[in-house]
Symmetry: C3
Subunit: 273 residues, 3 copies
């Protein structure tokens, strides 16, 4: 049995700059046997909601024992808190701004959004640990790059079996975004596109299990029946994608470009389960 | 001696989305000691030919025992088959659409293309294994992401010394593209640009060993003598590049932009060996 | 204690082409336990100065014993030399064109630039080793890709504890760029933007420790007070960034786009320490 711990990174740093490499350098200096995996570094700059969505759809595929570091952090250097969370054997490290929402119990998060978009709000009755013990860091942190100077070293120590409580007091509050799940509107679901992937697929917040089998989805004036897979469709279609959300796709093409749609576009599912 | 097995990934998924990370998560869950290396994830979306070319020019540099997973898969979810191939101690996993052509014996592939472009066709008298035993997967696959749900777990099991025959019946047929080698036209070679690299170098399918020593290549109205290396040339030149194919390059510049040329542009070598 | 050696890669190869993968394939074939980390592959093509700056700001975060391979190499195939350098337990491998400047003693490099931009010049009284023993390579190198054919195999051997002197004679000369440190102009510092990061932050060569506490910086007609962190500012600000250099940033925006500024833009610090 391998004893390597997986440490994942989810950031908006991109790969052009050496920021990610500096985080990995710190991780490997303190946890030389860690296996570091990039989830993505191409979250839209400072888009906490998108980062939360990406992490939510990915963390469960990693082995138990993984440490997930997420840094989309417009509030770096301000008084926003830093958190350690644990769920089902996984550990999460990052700023307290909603980015780590997937690590909170579903029962504590707002079950569906009220308005047209997602935003972070305070939830209570949860268990988290604050990162306050900056004296435990190998060097004093800079004011602008806590990913490298705080979150990476803490993650390395957690991967080496430190306990969350070592780094600060427990707290029962944290910021969280609503669950990514389109709200009900009569017999329909009022979805929204939460991201566009490389293929131009429009990924919505409509959960596959919420959709009636013979339903169709509408985007603008287009009404699209649900197909089982991209290859079945001729042209535009809607499918339940690989992460369980309804996607609008164009076989061998780019649906977002074709439809002039994107993040925030309304997508309605006409018949809910 | 290390016992780590290398698993390589060649896809058109890009790095912006978490799809590659989900594949790595599955690989590390099942083969925790594997060393995963990205060949590229920037194959043009659904361009099987380009994926086949990239894999062909790269796999031999990896150590024997490596498992190569390739997923450029416009037919995902349809009845296209999934294959395991073996060659010179390397194992290849992916869809049966020509992407894994390099793993087939050269003698079975069409030796040179007939027309102006490459395409996949059926070849026979080869040995491959179908991936049919989806009951061996850790969870039922989604209809749209077999890279994560089928190919990654199979690759992890193969890296852990499972046998190809464990996953389905042998087959003697597979799709393959022609060998990447410009056809003869009298004393000349009728080449084509198969990809453009980051530097704007136009990489052709003209093999260096097919070219007469004092030959030149023509692209549009330009006639370019063969140089030994970029640094020797002043301006546009043709060189035998690092993968053995003739490239058209512009010293300290971008040949593709300068010439208005790209994938599919004709490049003629005037004197063949 | 882990015995894995870290090998870092800094290149201008991008991630679209398989060149980086070919280097990793060679590294893992010869040093199967190495841990390979990408610093960046998105250095502007053939921009040796930018590569030198990126490596300089990053190498110290890696553990001692790391081998740093850097390839931004417009002179590949010409008579430019190849070097191995050592500093504080780290080893550096790459072309002799200034890219490895950070591995030379600060005392030997020109302390501040004279003109408006950086360039490589010969420095003396240093200790380096030339890579001449190409007979030690596993196969004869191509004329156009020494990253894969020379630097990667040499790095793998160095990671496996070969000595720099094994590969060629010592030399006391190397190319180096000036230290990245804005020159003095009376009471001011005459800085320049050396790179723009993903967030549009303009990173200058003005060292934080050279700046008087209550100073401001000017870029074009804008005069910006120094803030402690991005979050403190409302709009445009200057901060001492995470690598110790003054940066011009726009809170929740892109300073480079907003100001129409970029690499080479003049940034003046009005009061030096």
């Amino acid at each position: 049995v391998s004893t390597r711990r997986v440490i994942t990174l989810t950031t908006d740093f991109g790969l052009r700059d050496p920021y990610v490499a500096q985080m990995k350098a710190v991780l490997l200096s303190m946890a030389p046997d860690a296996e570091i995996v990039d989830v993505t570094h191409e979250v839209e700059p400072q888009d906490v909601i998108e980062g939360a969505f990406v992490l939510e759809t990915t963390w469960r595929y990693f082995p138990a024992g993984s440490v997930h570091v997420a840094v989309v952090d417009p509030g770096v250097g301000t008084s926003r808190r830093r958190l350690i969370l644990q769920k089902e054997g996984h550990t999460f490290v990052g700023p307290d701004n909603g980015l780590l929402s997937c690590a909170l119990p579903d029962s504590r998060r707002q079950q569906r959004r009220d308005g047209d978009s997602y935003e972070a709000g305070m939830v209570t009755d949860i268990t988290a640990f604050c990162i306050d013990r900056l004296d435990l860091l190998p060097r004093p942190p800079s004011a602008t790059f806590e990913g490298r100077d705080v979150f990476a070293p803490i993650a390395a120590l957690l991967a080496a079996r430190a306990e969350p409580a070592d780094f600060g007091p427990a707290t029962q509050e944290a910021f969280a975004v609503q669950r990514f799940r389109a709200p009900v509107d009569g017999a329909a679901l009022r979805g929204v596109c939460v991201r566009v992937d490389r293929f131009g697929n429009l990924i919505t917040d409509i959960r596959g299990e919420d959709v009636a089998p013979e339903s169709a989805v509408s985007l603008g004036r287009r009404r699209l029946p649900l197909a089982r897979t991209y290859g079945e469709a001729d042209g535009l279609c809607a499918v339940i994608g690989s992460t369980g959300y309804v996607e609008v796709a164009l076989a061998n093409g780019n649906a977002a470009a074709d439809l002039g749609a994107g993040k925030g576009s309304a997508v309605v599912c006409e018949a809910r389960r």
